[in-house]
Symmetry: D3
Subunit: 235 residues, 6 copies
């Protein structure tokens, strides 16, 4: 059950490492398109410093408002390259994570954090180059009183994340790739990027998308009408 508390699972069926490495080369927008426009978190999730970037396998955490206890439980369950993804039982903006936890995560192999809440010590995190995406920056600390879960499916910023799924995040946001689809999505992203590179060169040369994508007839059929002068168009 999504949101059940009191569970910590040690074993994670992580996505294929080679597929993860291949996905690491692509941007969030490219991967999201390659998946058929699914898997994106809500755009309020922002990196704490420009240029932050991560691609890794999810260790998931379910927490409760104002309580970051389960992040300590998660630290022990990390493998090299994991990204911690934390969702909550209800809306919270407290600062759940700072430079001490980042030090611990890094020492245990953690590569980043995606959290539907607040974080703090952002100057130190930026200096450490520990990438974090959060809803807000907030110095407000938390208690450790209520257990949640680790490595159960969670909803984070509107996206469903299973333990072991691939999480890719950059300046454009955060996207989640099902573990079982990682290789397939990497292929599709590669194909998309190659196609875009070819198109980019043509566009840079002054060709129009109208012609490259053959849009002129479709626009006409859809009702677009050109006027030479604003006087002619009755708007």
């Amino acid at each position: 059950m999504i949101g059940k508390s009191g569970i910590a699972v040690r074993k994670v069926r992580r996505a294929n490492a080679d597929a993860v490495a291949r996905l690491a080369k692509f941007g969030v927008a490219t991967i999201h398109e390659a998946m058929g426009r699914v898997g994106l978190m809500a755009p309020y999730m922002r990196p704490i410093y420009p240029g932050a970037r991560v691609c890794g396998t999810a260790v998931t955490v379910l927490g409760h408002p104002g309580d970051n206890w389960m992040l300590h439980v998660a630290a022990e369950l990390l493998a090299r390259g994991d990204v911690v993804v934390m969702g909550f039982s209800s809306e919270t903006t407290d600062g759940m994570f700072g430079d001490l936890l980042a030090t611990s995560f890094r020492a245990r192999g953690g590569a980043g954090l995606i959290i539907d809440a607040g974080v703090r010590d952002t100057a130190e995190l930026a200096q450490m180059k520990f990438p974090v995406w959060s809803k807000v920056v907030n110095a407000k600390g938390t208690i450790k009183a209520t257990v949640g879960s680790v490595n159960v499916p969670v909803i984070c910023a509107g996206a469903l994340v299973h333990p072991g799924d691939v999480v890719v995040a950059d300046d454009d946001g955060v996207v989640v790739v099902l573990a079982a689809k990682a290789a397939e999505v990497a292929d599709a992203a590669q194909a998309r990027e190659e196609k875009e590179n070819a198109t980019r060169a043509r566009l840079a040369g002054g060709e129009l998308g109208l012609d490259i994508y053959g849009m002129r007839d479709k626009l006409k059929a859809a009702g677009l009408r050109y006027y030479e002068d604003p006087e002619d168009a009755k708007y």
Copy 2:
């Protein structure tokens, strides 16, 4: 009619090029003051990188939620120095614009984008130094199914923009100057900046605005009373 779809107008009555060049020297706050505090877009419009700055003539686009088709129509209608301004028939946060369209816009003379929606590929756009102001950053892509309009008056982030109006944007936001008023506003901005420079020197020397602007009597008349000590003031 504001918001009518299906119209693309080729001819734009652009503001005088010399006036545009003169306006390019001033900040958004100065121009907005010089116009009598009108023409500003809502403050949720933010540049995608610090220091972004543009001043150009508007090519306007009306779009629909989740659909960026008309940006391709706009690309063909750009002249050197134009800034694309896109408003929508209703609220939308999808990522309408990325580095491919930026490449096309730049190749056709486009100088920047102002869009009441989301954008993506922001790291690439920042690297290209292609200036964009948007409501949000969002990797979510769009479809091309519904025609809107190009070069009709649009409302973007609460401001009315006609094709050919001057659009100035910097870290403080986005302001629109009517094409017919461009020279007059440039004059007023110049006068304001000269006056501010003189004031700045006096303030830097320790003089007070209270004295420079002659505010002391007005404050007294308006009811301000000074107390030496908090004990004396009954608040």
Copy 3:
């Protein structure tokens, strides 16, 4: 009475200068924790440039929507190291402060501004390294028509601030320390930082918070149960 207009008080009972100097060494999150998690402003208060940082004594200002008149009154009442804190009688997002007022504040000893409204000229303010925390960036200017108060208690972004209180602000937000508690809070922050440094070293070496903080038994008592495999956990 919180919010009474028409009062300007010259004398401020500032926090002990030595305590202020000691507090300047700590981050907002550390001070907030050292105080027992009180005194924090709402997280919508953000610095206008990354790395902004200030620690000083409050000169407080009560203003009204769309009116920045009292900032000029405040300028005269500044002593070296003061931070101006401005709250409002109701919600406002107009740009109350720009580079001219910053020039004046700096010339009179002002070290920064905390304002529950908008600011403008942010590029110039960043270049001047004049630190400002605000709700929004907005080029919209203001009038000077209604008197508020200076150096009365104000509520700013949900925090109560008295004249002379210590205000500390950095990338994580803004925290207020009662003048009478400044030395005590500096001691507590010092103790906390030393303890955190020791913990950080252990975490960096791979030790877990679970062990350092002795959490394992408490988690078990609180109901956390470990499973080797997701199949075993009925979620």
Copy 4:
């Protein structure tokens, strides 16, 4: 120029009274559809009591944050059946309007108010059955210090409104009809309503929109595929 202050215009070119009377019979959603989906204000504009409803000609007001002076100027310029529409030079949530102004408006022929700010005395207004749509309910009062304008074009909640345009508002929101288009839009709304009535009867009888609108082939062409059982669909 949209947003210019200091202007009060006595003469309003009101929409044809017969067309206004005909538009009064239709809901906001119907009129908005009949116009081709333009002219709608942002959905944050809500009636202060359920069932509020108005259709009249606009007397427009431009105001400034925290200042309701121009509503008194507007009162004198009302004709029977006018609806006051007030936009602002920047964002404001203060309570601009209460039961005294409502009494005055009603005495002078005013039929309602649309305001991109706050209102108060809402219990009294509901009791008077004076219909108001606003952004917020707020007891906070305003000053009378800065002149705006009356009967100039204004932008209110994202919609452009000219003096004399038809404004229709109900539980679904607020829509604006250009004065010159009022009759044409009333015709289109009538036609739409008749068509909808016929469709409603068929839907009530159990027929499906899929069949009535002939959607089955289009859905198939667009890629929809039916599966008998979730096991067959690989989602």
Copy 5:
């Protein structure tokens, strides 16, 4: 995959009808507690009229911004007592649903709608007593251009919903019960309600929760200290 388009599944494994009937007797808050505080949608989901209430089995719909095409597909797949739950590929506030679709849903057995977007014709829907929970009320209509899916798992307002799950909604919000847990949750809700009824009687008689729940010692242990007079408490 959550969010995959182009799928319509006819067969729904609905929760046990008897369990659904039993759940219908409890409020959302009670059921949410009985489940261990999981399954709740975000609190921005509000009923369109006070007193709206529904309990039924979910027919799920995935849609795209500004497009309501799939609601027509859903209409055909409804069984008596179903509640349509619609989530979206990205944020949208357009008015997706009105009285025509409500007429169709009702004719086909539909008992209500939960939609993470806007609705319109709210006066008519209230008159029909067709219960709807939505993010916003908005007269803005939609297009029918892009296929989504019907009867696949969807995320709606932060909650995961599978076809056939039980959806209960009232003035307090919307909660989702896994189909397989429906009977167990109904039992737990029944037990909770009985316990609450007993407690309510004692509280109505003036007994304190402090005593009924045995909180006094726990509060003392947690650090609460009583003072007779504010003078004694150093806050």
Copy 6:
């Protein structure tokens, strides 16, 4: 210190009962004006049913996110006519209060609740006619793990409230009157209401505020200019 936890004070210096009774006759807007426009809570505080109304003396509560423990402590400290006012150490939207606590409050003399968080069981609360103003309606329950304080000064929705202050709330929002000022404010509200009644009669008779308040000269001096026809006004 605002926000200090672990304190419960039994003795409250309540405002004079006669003054409270007199204040009960006035609306929130009137009292707020009578105080000189101070003491108002933020407009996001809304009654849970239309027509809710309360006037009483404050028993204040400081709580933490997701935790309603201190409301039980408050129940014991209520006297007849008290209104509980609860602020929080940081932002929270959980449902802190429902019909059981309302039953307890009522049995102990409590007259209403003002809470900067969520509430639930709103249908039952409305039926009981127990008036509540909150930030949100939310079925999400809370834990009882962290002590806060009762009867210390709190900030609630941007307003400072001391134990014993008068709290008045209606459809327009919530206003706080210092205990020591209650009689004085009641006098001022009475005077204001009498004056408004006289004005209302004149406005109802068709006189204009422009004349009653003598605004015509001031408007002219402030720069307002009348034009007979829009053609004459160059906007």
